[in-house]
């Protein structure tokens, strides 16, 4: 009988035995790295319709986060302020600025400014700002140093694994309720012990079960 297969095919099983498992591990590793929100989402920095600078307002001018995002302590969603919140000041400060044209127009017509959302969680996760604030999670823990950002950038992956990292071991990430909006506060440097804080009202037991976030 004539030869059916070339001789090099004798090596095929060995090659497959080595390459197969490596390929499996490689695919998992590649998906873990290149498909993870840490790679795909962190650094997201969209152009906004109005070049609002958090560095100027929250950083240099020292405005409190809650002046604009006023529902953050009481509601699930930290409100994007209505245009009138901007105009409270900008009626008098730089009233003719070119950059504020859209804000003035919005104030006149009542049409919202089409801000581009940066921190977006999926619909099937129920995140609540008020609970996290009363537990002592600072703004900077999830949003980064907003007070240093000219344009808001996504600084954390906001992935499920990232959420669980803190839910499984919350203590190093907590701070006293008075320091929530303090962007420069470092819980570890300050030596804060949430267990010893008499002002603390919530127990240190963030949910780790599915229905904690997926209801």
């Amino acid at each position: 009988m004539s030869k059916l297969f070339p001789r090099w095919m004798n090596h095929l099983p060995t090659v497959l035995a080595v390459v197969g498992p490596l390929a499996g591990v490689g695919v998992v590793a590649a998906v873990n790295y290149w498909f993870s929100p840490k790679y795909t989402d962190v650094g997201y920095r969209p152009e906004q319709p109005v070049p609002f600078s958090h560095r100027l307002h929250a950083g240099e001018l020292g405005m409190d986060c809650r002046y604009c995002h006023n529902t953050v302590e009481r509601a699930a969603v930290a409100a994007i302020p209505p245009t009138n919140t901007c105009l409270n000041c900008h009626r008098y400060v730089k009233p003719d600025s070119e950059k504020l044209a859209l804000v003035r127009a919005s104030g006149e017509t009542g049409q919202s400014i089409p801000w581009v959302r940066v921190h977006q969680l999926p619909d099937y996760s129920y995140f609540s700002h008020d609970v996290h604030l009363s537990a002592g999670v600072g703004c900077a823990s999830c949003h980064g140093r907003i007070d240093q950002m000219e344009r808001v950038t996504l600084s954390q992956p906001l992935s499920m694994g990232w959420c669980l990292e803190c839910h499984r071991n919350p203590e190093p990430h907590l701070r006293p309720p008075s320091e929530i909006t303090n962007m420069a506060y470092e819980p570890r440097a300050a030596g804060y012990d949430p267990k010893a804080d008499p002002a603390r009202q919530r127990a240190l037991q963030p949910p780790e079960n599915c229905s904690g976030c997926h209801r």
Binding site: M1, L4, F5, N10, P13, V28, N32, F35, S36, P37, K38, P157, S159, M160, G161, L164, E165
Partner: protein, 466 residues
């Protein structure tokens, strides 16, 4: 050649190839279905199977598009046809390993002519079975969540859940069975490669035969590998359906939370597996003219195993009922009385009739050797085993709290998905009988009288010509 087979001179056993055949004739008769021009009947059967497969694709496509609401499952009956059919198919898939591994270790030589066939049946049944957990999760594209793969969600499967054990049990069973089947096929694939006349056949069988040249060294490795795989597969015969039974037994539903479940499920699985092997074998041996390899003696042996396992299942039913009374647990008692006289009484009594009453006919040799009757019994066995799972799952309809009682009625999509799995099963089977040797050629040769080292001692006159 002698005209009449006679028992082996040493052990007085019935010959396993009857009427006797030469080594050459065995190869010819097994290879024939692969070398014939496919008859019209084969094409018709393939067309029928593919139509059922189309029904399956349609049903599953609609399910994926719309969601599991197309099924009849509800609250409290959260498990319906999907798990009934899953357990049913997995059970059917048990005969293969039992025949190939356990009977091999026990040196039951009659297994040689049916092991290939029943292992193939096992594999196809496992494929059908696995389709149900895959589609019942609702979002089949997230199936990989059942595997412990590192991921950015930092979530692992729930290792305390019997449903996860099920994933591992059935997939290990599927892969070991496939490996075992394939290793056993290698010498026969080489035979087919060497007989092949067309280029595609040479390549097809040649690739699969992995360069088998029938050298002594090959055979030595082969025998060791086969024995090791048989040893590996044997515990799986017991473990897979035990784990499947944990899906029920680990929960706390009355009627499910019992220790008898694992052995009772294993017995039932082998019972239904042999039922299915008989159903298919009785037809296949006559269509493909393999009556001399799969003799009435073989069929009778399978009938005996069916009788044994059927009696074990009957015993388990009785014991379940006894323990429900003896335990003094009112919920357990209610469950069993409800099974008999509740809204699904017809399923219960169908189960008892098919699984306990009908197999008793197998006590009679005249029944065990009557292929027509045996065919009907083998089908009733699988009907009965389907109803067994239906009865068990429908326990959900009435639990300990009457205010949460409900009922279950399957929808057209439950039925069409079930019918569709027969399409998967028979499409594979139709291709199998056409393209792979359905009897282990090399192994059958080893049970011929000619393979006996003492065969020629003083029998030259009787057995000349090989």
């Amino acid at each position: 050649m002698v005209a009449q087979a006679h028992p082996e001179p040493l052990d007085r056993r019935v010959p396993l190839v009857d009427p006797p055949a030469t080594i050459q004739q065995i190869t010819e008769s097994v290879a024939a279905p692969m070398e014939w021009k496919a008859p019209l009947g084969w094409w018709l059967f393939l067309a029928g199977s593919l139509s059922c497969l189309g029904i399956w694709l349609g049903s599953v496509g609609y399910l994926f598009w719309t969601g599991t609401g197309v099924w009849g499952v509800n609250n409290p009956v959260g498990w319906g046809f999907d798990i009934v059919n899953f357990v049913w198919w997995v059970g059917i898939g048990h005969a293969g390993t039992l025949i190939s591994a356990v009977l091999f270790l026990f040196r039951q030589k009659w297994r040689t002519s049916i092991n290939r066939f029943s292992e193939a049946m096992t594999l196809f049944a496992v494929v059908c079975a696995l389709s149900f957990p895959t589609i019942h999760i609702g979002r089949a594209w997230l199936l990989y969540w059942v595997m412990p793969i590192p991921n950015q969600m930092a979530v692992w499967p729930n290792f305390r859940s019997p449903l996860l054990w099920d994933v591992f049990a059935v997939s290990v069973y599927g892969s070991v069975s496939a490996l075992f089947w394939f290793v056993g096929l290698i010498p026969d694939l080489a035979t087919m490669r060497d007989r092949a006349t067309k280029k595609w056949q040479q390549l097809f069988y040649g690739v699969l035969a992995l360069g088998w040249r029938s050298s002594h060294r090959h055979w030595q490795h082969y025998e060791v590998a086969y024995l090791l795989l048989a040893g590996l597969a044997t515990p799986l015969v017991l473990s897979v359906h035990s784990v499947v039974s944990f899906d029920f037994a680990v929960s706390q539903i009355p009627g499910w939370h019992t220790t008898i479940f694992p052995p009772y499920f294993v017995a039932g699985a082998i019972f239904s597996g042999f039922g299915m092997v008989m159903t298919l074998m009785i037809i296949a041996r006559s269509i493909f003219k393999l009556e001399h390899l799969v003799t009435r003696h073989h069929i009778e042996n399978m009938a005996k195993v069916t009788l044994l396992t059927g009696s074990l299942v009957g015993y388990a039913y009785a014991m379940e009922f006894f323990v429900a009374w003896y335990s003094g647990n009112p919920y357990e008692r209610f469950t069993f009385i409800n099974r008999m006289f509740g809204p699904y009484w017809w399923a219960y009594w169908s189960m008892i009739f098919c699984n306990v009453v009908v197999p008793q006919a197998l006590w009679f040799q005249s029944v065990r050797r009557n292929l027509g009757v045996l065919f009907v019994i083998s089908i009733l066995v699988n009907v009965g085993m389907w109803f067994e799972r239906y009865v068990i799952v429908l326990t959900l309809a009435r639990d300990t709290l009457p205010s949460s009682w409900g009922s279950y009625s399957p929808t057209i999509f439950d039925f069409s998905t079930y019918l569709g799995t027969f399409g998967i099963f028979f499409t594979f089977f139709t291709l199998f009988v056409r393209f792979l040797p359905m009897v282990a050629i090399a192994e059958v040769k080893a049970v011929l009288p000619e393979a006996n080292p003492h065969h020629d001692d003083g029998h030259h006159a009787a057995h000349g010509g090989h």
